[in-house]
Structure formats: structure tokens, C-alpha cells
Symmetry: C2
Subunit: 156 residues, 2 copies
DNA sequence: CGTGAAATCGATTCCAC
DNA sequence: GTGGAATCGATTTCACG
């Protein structure tokens, strides 16, 4: 899909529509229409515009990992050997389903990853057997999330 | 909504349904029904079960912050004074819309936050004027995300 | 568990205004 | 922007297997 990164005009009505759908992607359009006093057709027109602008990147069902027994979230700072090409390490990380996010970062590490595990033992096995064994990974630093207090998107 | 954290049975059909909807929350149920060879009513029954189990935590439209000019993501490790009650700091962080995630973590910091900014200047202002000025924050360490390579949910 | 049908409502597009 | 028409999907309910 083409993305126009420039000249996006978002008015207050667009924001109201988006705020509803960012909370619940399946909220009925006609219900939103009634709440903000606009026709359903107008909402559809605006949503098409917002999709074409690239502002709406899609929609997702959100899964609660705790219900599947995944109760341990952690951030892993990864040191890579200078010789190692970072993309190869990322390719290996992508194969590990527990890795939810992976960023090239400034600062101490080459890569910062966010991972989800069932428990501390699972986390330890992941670190020792899967992440540490990636070629080029020299060292890792682990920060376990004891509790996530904020989880949201950009405010519009 | 009540959440049953135990005795959740997810079979292969549930997983197929969820995989579709985790990619696109507005994918037509009947389209999913046709693809996996089951009736629409059966999908609805399973979705009700999955919602009641708490596994489905909701659905969201995903907004692309870049289109709004937010191009700089960063992780901030926050050191808090021992005397400071952490919840008060979180309360202040919650008021800062640029803060997308906030975790109590093991390790060096008290808190690890993920934030989104328009640019480095915006990030600097946020750090100097909003985060550093929170009572109890003694020091911060900033890791700018140069590129996010992986962004996904738990695999089911 | 599953189905198919009915009923009601929403989604989506199109069009005339 | 609007409303109406048309077509399709969403959702629930139900009788049935």
C-alpha cells in the first residue's frame, strides 16, 4: 500500500473516529456515527482517506499472553561482535517466537529485544540456548519486567 | 470482564481463527469461515468462548506514528530515589502522552519506559523538562531506537 | 461439538442531492 | 457533507444432528 508521509490533514472528527477504533477495532461504524453526529457514509469516506494516508496501519486482535501461561516479559540488551553483521543476528532473532520486538539502538548494546516467556526457567533456557548461541552475540543483559504499568499507542 | 486464567483449551481451529484476526481485526468472519471450512456460527461460538476466557483482550486500530511526524522511538531507563514511591512516578509518566510503555524492571533501573517523539529535539525536551523533573527521578539513560526490526505478538 | 436457516442489524459502496 | 438503495457481512437464536 502506498503511504503518503506528507500533507496529512487530520481534523477533530478524524481524531474522534480514530480514538474509538483504536480502543475497539470492531466498534460498529454506525454507532460511532451516531455518537459524533455524522453519517455512516461520511465515516467510511474519512476512513478511506486515513487508510490511504498510511496513518491507519491496520487492525489487530490483541491476545493476552498470560492466559496462555506466558507470564514473564523481559528486555534483553544484546552486545554483538563488531565483525558480526547485525542483520544476520536479527534474522536469527526473528526465528525465535518469544521475541516480540527488536530494535537497533544507540548506547551500550547493538540490539534491544523484548521477549515473552512462560516463566523464569523458560527465560533462562531462551537466553542460554537460543539467544547466546546466535553467532555474533557476545553478551546479553536482561531486565525482567516485574509489572507493565502503561501500554498504549500514540495519543491523537 | 471476568478472566479465567486456567483450563483454557485452544484447539487448532481456534488458532487458525485467531491468526487471521490478529493480522486484521476486521477480516470478515464469513471469509475466515470459508477458508477453514467451518460455519460462521461456529466461528462466533468459538470467539465468544475465547473472549470469555480472556485470551482475546480486545482489538485495536494500529496507528502509524511516522505519518504524524513521530519518527523517534527511544527506551528510557529511569533511576528513582529509594525514598520515592514508584507508583507516584508512574502516575506522572502516565500524564506524558509520549510514554507508550512503562515497566517496573529488575536490574539497574527502577523503571524502563518506551517513548515516541517527533525528533531528537523533542526527545531532549521531553527528557530535560518532563521526565527529569518528575519527583524522585535521579537519573535516566536513553537508548534511541535506530530501527525497529521486529514488532509482533506472541505466536499461537 | 457441529450445521443451516431465519431475523435483525451493521458494513460498504454508489448515487443523487 | 446527506439520505436512500442495494448487496453483503455480523450476530444471535434456534432446531437439529
Amino acid at each position: 500500500m502506498k503511504v503518503n508521509d506528507d500533507k496529512i490533514e487530520i481534523d477533530g472528527i478524524d481524531k474522534e473516529i480514530l480514538r474509538f477504533l483504536m480502543e475497539d477495532a470492531r466498534k460498529p461504524i454506525l454507532e460511532i456515527a451516531r455518537k459524533i453526529g455524522i453519517s455512516g457514509a461520511a465515516i467510511h469516506q474519512r476512513l478511506r482517506k486515513l487508510e490511504q494516508s498510511g496513518l491507519i496501519a491496520g487492525s489487530k486482535f490483541i491476545i493476552n499472553p498470560k492466559v496462555l501461561g506466558y507470564t514473564t516479559m523481559a528486555f534483553i540488551g544484546i552486545y554483538l561482535d563488531k565483525a558480526m553483521r547485525n542483520p544476520e543476528a536479527v534474522k536469527q532473532l526473528r526465528k525465535i517466537p518469544e521475541v516480540l520486538e527488536c530494535h537497533y539502538t544507540t548506547g551500550n548494546w547493538s540490539i534491544l529485544a523484548k521477549i515473552i516467556c512462560k516463566d523464569n526457567e523458560h527465560l533462562m533456557n531462551l537466553l542460554n540456548h537460543k539467544i547466546q548461541s546466535i553467532e555474533g552475540v557476545s553478551r546479553t543483559e536482561t531486565f525482567i519486567s516485574l509489572a507493565q504499568q502503561i501500554d498504549r499507542q500514540i495519543s491523537i
